[in-house]
Symmetry: C2
């Protein structure tokens, strides 16, 4: 097997932080697939694999290149059907798109309003310049303005997880009795925050914190292989 | 087949409005099961079937009684495995719990803050008295105070549906190419609002409004069999 994953890091290449790359790292571990991980900075991405993708994760599997964490999960389930499923059937594959929609519209903006300057500060000089320009263009304001209400965002963060907290009364994982890709989707958002920011957003006994701990423990503690910021 | 469903109505027994009963009406139609529907008021529920349930939906299938819309959907898929699935496999069954958690913590409180007094006004005198007392006990304030910021809630409602709107860029239903119980979960919340309140919460061309229209059209337009308030 010749799997290779390109993962985003800051100046310290031992601390991958992209939520989407974390989804893929856990997806690969879930399938029991070992993989070479090449750590890259933002400005290296467009030069990878002949300019195949402007974003990571980017996966090479032999001759095949696949980008986007959801597409990679779909690819892995199709290419390796004998290994544990990431979706648990057609319904799970469809509903994982809803979980993705929720995570990206509810959690991701909140993480940005907490950690955007922390992320910037982790980057090397060239990536810092790219990151500031591209994010300020996209968000229409300076990075420092995005995080101006950081303390309010930290206080409000736990409340945004109420749908997951309610679900956890029924089952230990979004996938049911065990994790599926939908768990890794939400994990990615919280791991992004954990690796980039020291903000404490959940009480230790919050059911969501306990779920996050369970996902950190999975696959020989892969999520814990990078310590919290 | 001797299926019987107890459904909640106000004084006009032709207008079932409970979000949970709507989930079950669509579930039964999805399975292609015909069913006698007995319309009841709030204060009749504890007397049904020997006091089996304090809430509806309550389904009798021959000798079997089942309560709770999610449990009824699970029961139907188990009891009628040869008919179209409501979950699409183990993953879909698990993730429908997440959709339920989202709907009940995000949409249901918002519908109450818009329509609580409208719902009260639909009820017969005895049910009105029960409804006011029980809801004011639970919510800790008069019904009229709950809806005090009704206009703000109406304006904010479309924003709460952003996770679904984002998902709809990938597929036409939460179930994927066709509807599953997860669609009926979210439909139930919007149908509750549609039947009880004249509040307009979505622009006609909102992707969520178009999805809602698709679910209203399903099963020979079952959802449209009760006109909007």
């Amino acid at each position: 097997m010749t799997l290779k994953l390109y993962a985003l890091c800051g100046e310290d290449r031992s601390r991958p932080f992209s939520p989407h790359v974390w989804k893929t790292m856990l997806s690969l571990a879930h399938k029991g697939l070992s993989c070479e991980v090449e750590k890259v900075g933002f400005t290296e991405i467009p030069k990878l694999e002949g300019g195949f993708s402007r974003t990571v994760p980017l996966l090479r599997d032999g001759e095949r290149l696949v980008r986007d964490s959801f597409d990679i999960a779909l690819y892995l389930d199709e290419a390796y059907p004998g290994r544990p499923t990431l979706f648990g059937g057609d319904g799970g594959r469809a509903m994982a798109r809803f979980v993705e929609g929720w995570s990206q519209t509810t959690l991701h903006p909140a993480v940005m309003r907490i950690a955007l300057v922390d992320i910037h500060d982790m980057l090397g000089p060239e990536d810092q310049s790219y990151f500031r320009t591209s994010r300020e263009d996209r968000l229409g304001q300076p990075l420092e303005a995005v995080v101006a209400a950081r303390d309010d965002e930290i206080a409000a963060f736990a409340g945004k997880l109420e749908p997951l907290r309610t679900m956890l009364k029924s089952q230990p994982f979004i996938g049911g009795e065990g994790p599926l890709f939908a768990d890794y989707i939400v994990f990615g958002a919280l791991q992004w925050l954990r690796v980039t920011s020291a903000a404490k957003v959940l009480a230790d006994d919050d059911p969501v914190a306990l779920w996050f701990g369970r996902v950190l423990d999975l696959h020989d503690g892969l999520g814990r292989s990078v310590r919290a910021a």
